[in-house]
Amino acid sequence: MCWLLGILFCAIAGAIVLFMLVQGIRFLRPSLLVTSPTAGFSQSQTGGFLDPLIGTVVVSLLGLAIALPLGVTIAVWLTEYGRPFPLARATESTVEMLAGVPDIVLALFGLLIFSSPILGFLSRTSGHVVFGRSFFAAGAMLSLVALPLIVGSTREGLQSIPAHIREASLAVGKTRFATIRRVLLPTARPSVITGAMLGLGRIIGDTAIIVVLLGATLTLNQAGNTPVFSVLKGTGSTLTSFIYANAPTGEANQPNKAYAAAFVLLLVVLALNLCVDLIGRRTKVVSWSS
């Protein structure tokens, strides 16, 4: 029974990967990667997916830029300070809850706060109406998706450092915060990076927040004239929303493009996984002798 299901599982996994590989190679052209998408009705008219590719990179950098410091802060506070105790418990369960919050709910909430007038400078506005959809909005909400993974992984890393390392550092006169910054965080760096990679995987793979908060427009629509800021203020799309729009249920309906984009996305995820694996292998060598 176990053998049967195990082999069935392998077969399904293999079929998915092989199928995507075949379809991806069939439809992926290098030119797709460097041309912008355009509106059109046939496969040859609709261009490539340069803009979604850029969008994916921008959104993941933005999300990670928010989630990483915040996640590490929370993890450090939880393991090294953690007082008052009820607050630590509350933080723990909130982070746990955040992992279970549907991303579509986060997206709606993001739209609510980013279309308030106070945050109007972060997205496009026309008169008094704040559009509320921008790379900023999407990045901020996507950071919440990645946060639980980063906190969990960093905490695990910090907790696995034996107490005598901390004591040794304190004994030579380092303060508590210096110990954290100079000793504990560098030691836990592989776990932090693993958490960041896992979080990045979630950010890249998320579709609902992108569709709602990034506008999922065809190309990058800049808002304003400031060079970088205007892109971040504007709307755009990512690979996931490109696939969603190009599936038969979407608006564009160009399945071949969707296959090609899905293949690229799968390659990115695969690369992230390999990174996590490599980090995991390397840290196993450096283990604490008790």
């Binding site: 392998c10 998915i16 802060t73 929370i74 607050l87 579509i104 793979g205 579709t207 249920t249 996984n273």
Partner: protein, 331 residues
């Protein structure tokens, strides 16, 4: 050495005492943000609940037409219409997520046991990264595979013309169906469950299993009676996480479930499995353009708050289920 400054340095602005406080403040701010999110979403959804009362959760009329009426009433700016009966959406969510979670729990447990205990070593080497990879494949790729492979297959080969004709006056059976949603969702959440189950099973102390085998109990029974029982907290945790993922899955289900506000009827016989429907989360994403209309906006937030509360209840239930198990848990 008499110079006191050598020993008493000017306090740095980023002093050690302030560090703990600062970190704590950031944590509290983040906490407050999350709490504010829950409050905001529920408050925004409240008008919809207030206008409909408990019949919000009941059935009656066509959900799609109600949404349309709401959208139009908001656009024209006249009298807002709030009538909304979400039962078809709730029923679809319960069916798809419940079936997928059950199916995937059963399969994942066997696969996890296989991965940890019975697979030969070379296979473990392959399986471990494969499970991890599948767990991190974006849902939209599963949706794409579903909509381009599974749905046409069901539509063309599984549903007979006779079955299609028999219900054509109510609903069209085109392959976008309950069974497609359940199958794809199962494939999507199973790797997540397997990887958490396998971690739990791996952390069962070796000597517990060896003690059991030393008593003459065979390997299969040992693993089920000792290993799986000791790993129960991990099994609960994995199930809760995977179910929450399924509950919140909007994009993939929007692609394969059919996107019709229709409540599949179990008394329809085999056709039941091929009836289209639409769970709660895809409803939000497909009506996102309607946020400009106030009544529809409140309704969508009401749907979101139902999802939020169910996700929270799920993790609470998981926590409650874990408590009595902790005593027997492997460290």
């Amino acid at each position: 050495m008499d110079d006191p400054l050598l020993f008493e340095q000017r306090p740095h602005w980023w002093s050690d005492r302030r560090a703990g406080l600062t970190l704590g403040t950031i944590v509290v701010a983040a906490l407050a943000g999350v709490v504010a999110m829950v409050v905001f979403v529920v408050v925004q959804g409240w008008p919809s609940f207030a206008h409909n009362g408990l019949s919000w959760f009941g059935g009656g009329g066509s959900v799609d037409q109600q949404i349309k009426a709401m959208f139009l009433s908001g656009e024209t700016g006249g009298h807002y219409v709030y009538t909304f009966h979400a039962w078809p959406l709730i029923w679809s969510t319960v069916l798809i997520v419940g079936a997928a979670a059950t199916l995937s729990l059963a399969c994942s447990l066997f696969v996890a046991v296989f991965v940890v205990e019975f697979a030969p070593d070379w296979m473990k080497e392959i399986l471990h990264p494969v499970v991890r990879l599948l767990a991190s494949v974006p849902s939209v790729i599963y949706g794409l595979l579903g909509v381009l492979v599974l749905v046409p297959f069901i539509g063309n080969h599984v549903i007979s013309q006779h079955a299609k004709a028999s219900v054509s006056h109510i609903i069209s059976l085109s392959g976008y169906s309950l069974v497609a949603g359940v199958l794809i969702l199962t494939v999507m959440i199973a790797p997540l469950m397997i990887s958490i189950f396998a971690d739990g099973l791996r952390s069962v102390p070796r000597h517990w299993l060896e003690a059991s085998q030393a008593l003459g109990i065979n390997r299969w029974r040992t693993f089920w009676k000792v290993g799986v029982r000791a790993a129960r907290p991990a099994i609960v945790a994995g199930t809760v996480l995977a179910t929450a993922r399924g509950l919140g899955e909007a994009v993939m289900l929007a692609m394969v479930s059919g996107s019709v506000g229709f409540a599949p009827n179990p008394f329809d016989g085999t056709i039941f499995f091929f009836e289209p429907s639409r769970p709660l989360a895809p409803t939000i994403i497909q009506n996102i353009e309607g946020l400009s209309s106030p009544p529809l906006k409140h309704t969508l937030f009401a749907v979101a708050s139902v999802l939020l509360v169910s996700a929270m209840a799920l993790s609470l239930a998981g926590w409650a289920a874990k408590q009595p198990l902790k005593r027997y848990a492997a460290a």
